[in-house]
Amino acid sequence: MSRNGTSGNNGRLDVRKTYKMLIGGAFVRSESGRALDVMAPGGKWLGHVCRASRKDFRNAVVVARKAASGWAGATAYLKGQILYRAAEMLEGRASGFREVLQSIGLSPAAAKAEVAQAIDLLVYYAGWSDKYLQVFGAVNPVATPHFNFSVTEPMGVVAYVAGEKRPLLDLVAGIAPIVVGGNAVITLSTGRAAVAAMELGEVLETSDFPPGVINLLCGLREELVGQMASHMDVNALVIQGGEVKEHGAVRESCALNLKRFFLRDQSGKEDEDPYRILDTVEIKTTWHPVGG
């Protein structure tokens, strides 16, 4: 991110990027018209990102809900290829992402490692796409003359609040298991991580995800998390970071429509974990008689 320079090399003025959120396949500013400053760790001003409103979130839910059934119905092979495509796109922009991460305070080594891990994580979950049903589904030997089987189905629309510790990786580690499970997702990135998130939007938008499957917002956590928890058309909420008090309030709001709630750890040890896919899918069991 080189937005702070008034002039670049050879007296040429930099062309700055206006960071926009990704909602329904379009890059948009907040409907509220508000913006937030992004500061580098030393206090240097880096630029603006959108400050999403509750209305932006509700709009995102509408487009995500529309996109959800198509994505749920896409073949596992296709979903896997699209996730893999996202890894390809990120790999192609790896050096740019390393620069962005460094501009928001990561060391060169940390930035390099984080970008590499994010790419590999997309490849990891791409591979699960046509396998997790085989691992987590079941044919159940009932004691009556019925054929009985259990399959996974997407929950629908899942909201995800990413932590700030690993600006790129926390977001990718949240999104990948949710979308490979066939859900549409709306994410919230905050603070310095918002910059990495908005960059990631450009990667995801060129990876063949149908519009609305992944929606990336940025803004203030305390302003939006309550709306995410209480929205009646969101099926699950996954949260990283935050205070115990916030988690309690969020869990309470989730009770309004029995939204599924999951707290993600930030250690990175569980980034690669197919049981995360299992969190945001439902188990459906079907009975059918066996007979003439």
Partner: protein, 487 residues
Amino acid sequence: MIKTSTTVGSDWGYAPAPESADHFKLKDHYGLFIGGKFAPAVSGKRFKTINPANEKVIAEVADGGEKDVDRAVKAARTAYDKVWRKMSGRERGKYLYRIARIIQERARELAVVESMDGGKPIRESRDVDIPLAAAHFFYHAGWADKLGYAFPGKSVAPVGVAGQIIPWNFPLLMVAWKVAPALACGNTVVLKPAETTPLTALLFAEICQEAGLPEGVFNLVTGAGSTGAALVNHPGLDKVAFTGSTEVGKAIQKSLAGRGTRLTLELGGKAAHIIFEDATIDQAVEGIINGIYFNQGHVCCAGSRLLVQESVEQEVVAKLKARMETLIVGDPLDKNTDIGAINSKAQCDRIRDYLKIGEEEGAELFQTQCSVPEKGYWIRPSFFTKVAQSHRIVQEEIFGPVLAIQSFRTLNEALEKANNTPYGLSGGVWTDKGAKIFKVTRGIRAGVIWANTFNKFDPTSPFGGYKESGYGREGGRHGLRPYVELS
């Protein structure tokens, strides 16, 4: 003169065939079961449990309060720390096998008590509830030493002490659904049965004694809603499992929110039962009957909304009426009885309220003409036609023998209507076309789908809901997940 009648029952009545209750003796009163021993409540209070078929008191039961709950949770914690978590899976499993066997040995007693205390027909207690309860313990017993295979790539540990609250519609079976997976996975339990049906849970406590189950592994605190609240709010629990209404489920989630205690909820339902014109209609009618009139309709997964394709609506409704007129409503202990007593006066009033609401909303009520006993709580098999999707009798769970009938023209319309409630527990479809079955079973947003059958249960088969019907599964490999910690 030859008497003519339109109903089969009046020409060909059945002689009474009551199941005897002389092969066992219930106590006058029962205590709480804490730390392996029966004891009265600290307050000394008791409440009466009555037979809803004749309103007679069967026994008195201790009314557990906060202090009792506290004692029970502490007993469960001690048993967890000192005995149960340390025991090998193989040994834990052997206790569960013992329990399964004793349930089978005492099956007739358990079935009769279940029908006396809850009002369900003896045929159902005998053939469904009690055998399935035994099967649940037998199934889960075998998991106790094989949990690593249920969760590939993970190491498995128990969660700790589980507080479990169960409803009155399948009293002993719900004990089994809750207790068997918890114990198999190495947890200890404090269970609160429903206040109208505590007796088979108390007999289960005796069975735990007979099985030699270590003290405190299973604890039972009887009482009403306040006892349940005391249990849920006890800080010593690692996990809460609740089966009951969506309203109470939401309240429990709220009250646990600040603590982050693990929670699974198995809540209400309003299942769509979809009949296509290419279904085998006679079989489908049997399915409809089983779907809504099984256990007086006191079934969270009951097929309480019938969606019938317009072209066969008249035929299905006519056949349904004729079949309903043959249903025998009456003494739960009579082996001929199809539909027993409504579980309690409160529930009976609630169902009557809904019958009134349905008529006020403009729907047309049909009820069978059968006679019902004078004493006790009874509702004749009922359905509504001319109902709209927005009617309360379509949107809300009635939990009684009341069906709402709607029609549809296309498959997509059927799915649209089926999914248009906040619930998502179960659903059903009848058609002879294989591809259509898969399209519909996939399209219904619910956790359990019956195709060309309904209301079937098995310990190997996961059960649980989508949306506001709760979360978590009971039964099968998936039912173990709420009771283990993975790392």
